[in-house]
Symmetry: C2
Subunit: 425 residues, 2 copies
């Protein structure tokens, strides 16, 4: 007898079927008992003899196989004729996972991750995350992008040596990649023109905040033959639109469960130059501590402004000053750059921009930033042999997930977070 | 004027178009010169005035924009009316990349990776690799698998402590993950039942061989509610069939260019228990040094046998002995296990099998292998709360690519290899 999934039961009314899954709840009513059986596709009520449950000493989360007849009154349920234990549970669970809400603090949830993920709301988060990653790749493949896998063990950091995890690589010293930046650009120059990568990046960030992780998944892309950063922003707009549309279709159940409100992207995303945003924050919100950059409070306030004025959950901040951006950023007039951040509901989820493609300009920009060009030899070499104009961006997958679902802490959108204190599970 | 890609030129005969790309070749014939212009989609001959080339001092691999009329005689070509340099090349290339074959040794090719990848044959390798990764995910999503991203910074190795890269994680000692094995199993137990991961894994292998890398991409999957390892093997058979079919369609041009012969999977892949394979190697090939395991030479010879007898490029070796498999492997009779390797044209590209799902069995198996269960606390804990029967496998992406394309050295199928000596580019 083939196993049937819970989600397909409505096609098998009055038939005899076999289900396999976990016992999520047990409720005894005299001689009859009701079990909620859960598999990867959903859960269903099963009617059994109380005696059978007691004889077998069934505990919550036991893995079972049940055979029975599918009936439908209000909802579909299974009239069980046989129940077999596949894998026994002998002890009580350390956390309660069968209530509507998972009532435990975040540390307890993360310490018991494999178990807390069985809670349907927690489970749904990572189905949504998987869908975001999937549709990111789908859209870009359709736009002529090639997926690449670049090394995470590197000889140099991309941002100039800070916040790097050091590694012993046989006799040499190595680091974990902070971003695939150099390799993305090299792959553009290698003739692929348009590439993307979905992979881990590492930041040896000393601070434990609600929005930083020491290891996270970066959705990266880089594209050639652009006019300037506007081409990258346009692509990101269409990309996010696609990702949100696919999410709505593929994860309807999960989004409803989490009461997620998806943002809408009509056409272009509002775009404000940073100097103008700073002025708005001064004039409208009395925030006077900003000069050349924005801080988390500023990101939140400017998002409020954009939401009120344009009814948009997204906002591009553009024209960051040269001194706030890495050496590979294309300069613009007035010591500003062809760069942008995407702010989503008060939090930066993307950094991007046009990159320098001229060898001499890149080299002298490294020197301006106090970096030694010899340290970036392989990268810099690429620019001698015909690098097209290009730009790109990176989206933090966990941040995007967290903001979509309204989480206060990015760890809620991270399977097994790595932070200042947490190295397990 | 919008840029047109070379591959779309045949739809624009007699029209005026704009192309952007690299100058791959220059041939002067008196007043007229022929340029081969290459973009990410292909290359095309462009007819220009020799004078223009000389005035501009055009060098190979210069990035240009050309406007002209599309003509067709034998082939499509462009009659150039205007040529503009987008990014200049001032020096000669360190390697010749415009010949039919890339004539350089592997070290030179890898040292100049961004440049050597512009050679159309080298370029094609990683389009094929991207397609393999893409179709791996596609197939599994269709089979109800959820993509996961599990940490690569870990507190313990999955195979028991050897060949680990050590890392300083703030005040703690950490390692780079050798495989996502523990996390895959935990995610199965977390209720997802079927999960896959595409990510880097790390082996601090001391030896420099043609088939090992210190960092590689592992295509991992794990699935619950299986009978035994046969279910995993059946899934892999269907998975590879799908991947090969998609490859044939999506990368026809690249496969032809590399003269790749795709293997055919008719139905089931031949499967031979290891003890029987050892007997065959003894009797047919006089190979008498094998007792409980197989070596690279044995893998090659048994592949020859299977190719001759069954005309198959693939072969499952099954029933590996307990002492040759990790502690999480499900034991079978006669001190053998429910495990398998997939050999493809003489090289192992997959290791897989059924895993232990019973807590006590797993714990005592750790002890049998001389491991301390306390070191695997978070992992082991998962098995107390209802772990379904499960199994999985891992495919080495670079190995699969190399074997498909008949490469002798896995580095040819690796973008930026990391090995005993190589940490750059």
């Amino acid at each position: 007898m083939e196993r049937v999934l819970v989600k397909d039961l409505s096609n098998t009314i009055d038939e005899k079927v076999k289900l396999q899954g976990w016992i999520q709840r047990i409720r005894k009513l005299g001689k009859i008992a009701f079990i909620i059986l859960r598999d990867r596709s959903g859960s269903v009520q099963c009617v059994v003899n109380t005696k059978e449950i007691e004889i077998k000493g069934l505990k919550l989360e036991t893995v079972v196989e049940v055979i029975g007849n599918v009936a439908k009154s209000d909802k579909v349920e299974l009239q069980v004729t046989s129940l077999n234990i596949i894998n026994e549970v002998k002890i009580d669970l350390p956390i309660e996972i069968n209530k509507t809400e998972l009532e435990a603090n975040l540390d307890t949830i993360l310490n018991n991750r494999a178990l807390s993920l069985r809670h349907e709301k927690t489970n749904a988060v990572f189905k949504i995350q998987a869908c975001l990653a999937q549709s990111f790749g789908e859209f870009l493949q359709g736009e002529g992008f090639t997926q690449v896998f670049t090394p995470k063990i590197v000889a140099e950091g991309a941002e100039g040596g800070t916040e790097l995890f050091e590694l012993k690589y046989f006799e040499q010293k190595a680091y974990l990649a902070q971003s695939p930046q150099f390799y993305k650009q090299m792959m553009v120059g290698a003739g692929y023109e348009r590439i993307f990568e979905i992979g881990h990046v590492y930041r040896a960030e000393e601070h434990n905040t609600n929005r930083h992780l020491n290891e996270y998944v970066s959705l990266d892309l880089e594209m050639a033959f652009i006019e300037d950063e506007r081409d990258v922003m346009d692509l990101e707009t269409r990309l996010l639109k696609y990702m949100l549309e696919r999410l709505k279709i593929r994860c309807e159940k999960e989004l409803n469960l989490l009461e997620a409100e998806l943002p809408v992207i009509d056409k272009a995303i509002v775009s404000i130059p940073l100097p103008e945003a700073i002025k708005i924050l001064q004039e409208k919100y009395g925030k006077k501590d900003l000069t050349n950059d924005i801080d988390p409070e500023g990101e939140r306030l400017i998002s409020v402004y954009v939401k009120e004025k344009y009814n948009s959950d997204f906002l591009f901040l553009t024209h960051y000053p040269v001194k706030k951006r890495p050496m590979y950023t294309m300069p613009a007039e007035n010591r500003l750059t062809h760069s942008f951040d995407l702010i989503f509901r008060g939090l930066e989820i993307t950094t991007g921009g046009q990159r320098i493609h001229n060898y001499e300009m890149l080299k002298s920009n490294m020197e301006l930033k106090g970096l030694n060009p010899d340290s970036f030899k392989d990268y810099l070499e690429t620019f001698k042999y015909g690098m097209p104009p290009h730009g790109g961006l990176a989206i933090g997958l966990e941040r995007l997930t967290a903001q979509l679902l309204g989480f206060k802490n990015i760890r809620e959108a991270t399977l097994f977070p790595r932070d200042r204190d947490r190295l397990t599970p």
